[in-house]
Amino acid sequence: MTQISIDAVRARAEADARTNGYYLIPDQELLQLFLEGLKVNEERYGYPTCPCRLASGKLESDRDIICPCDYRDPDVQEYGACYCRLYVNKKVYESKDLPSVPERRPLEKQAPAYRGSSKQQEQKPEATAAPSQAKQKLWYCKQCGYVTYREEPPYLCPICKAKRELFAELKTTVEYSG
């Protein structure tokens, strides 16, 4: 089982907030609870899923809700805070007035977390693993060159904040000769 200290979780969140020009929720008591939630999830699943969302425990289905989740940047841009309100912008940080942020994650992405793991159903992921992986593509940001491997391009480029429209699929071919 993964073991991680609360200080390491805090350091990672603080560094990520700094890098992106965000702030962590100003209430220190709530912040501590968020960090504990992230620690529990990282120790439970092996990766720190959003403490406010139900994870499936399967990396393939949970990738978009590993904190900071795929939805954080568009949510902070639109509402001033992420869905959890762990990450906020300067205005929210200073006013301490937390906005209400609706769930942006599509229902179909949430479905695997509710699927049973009975023996009959356990066989399903194996059967579907190949097609699901096959859907993953390489995407590159036309503005800064950032490359990511996933089903869809991110809402915002994590490096230069370019919108999804500025991502294009990167097609690769492997040729064998000789």
């Binding site: 939630g37 529990v40 769930e103 949430q110 977390a113």
Partner: protein, 94 residues
């Protein structure tokens, strides 16, 4: 479904919270009801058996919810998404 019951003096309404054990706003909702001495039941969905998770999903969607946590159901008819003190106060007459 195996719900945990938290006793309280105020029992006029049946209050059920669908929560996650890691969710900060779920903890705040539980604490708020406790502080106001409201009796409630809750289930931490992330700690539940798989078949229970599916029951929770169906029930929340049936009631018009969007699978956000916490989801609070008052008398099985009023659905409150998120930690909403104002709505809890309004519907529980606090």
């Amino acid at each position: 479904m195996p719900f945990s019951k938290v006793p309280g003096k105020k029992k006029e309404h049946k209050v059920v919270i669908y929560a996650l054990s890691t969710c900060v706003w779920c903890k705040m909702t539980k604490q708020f009801l406790k502080d106001n001495e409201v009796e409630y039941e809750y289930i931490d969905v992330d700690l539940s058996e798989e078949k229970e998770k599916e029951h929770v999903r169906q029930h929340i969607i049936e009631k018009g919810g969007d699978l956000s946590y916490p989801t609070t159901l008052v008398d099985d008819t009023i659905l409150i998404t998120g930690f909403r003190k104002d709505k809890l106060k309004e519907h529980l007459q606090l």
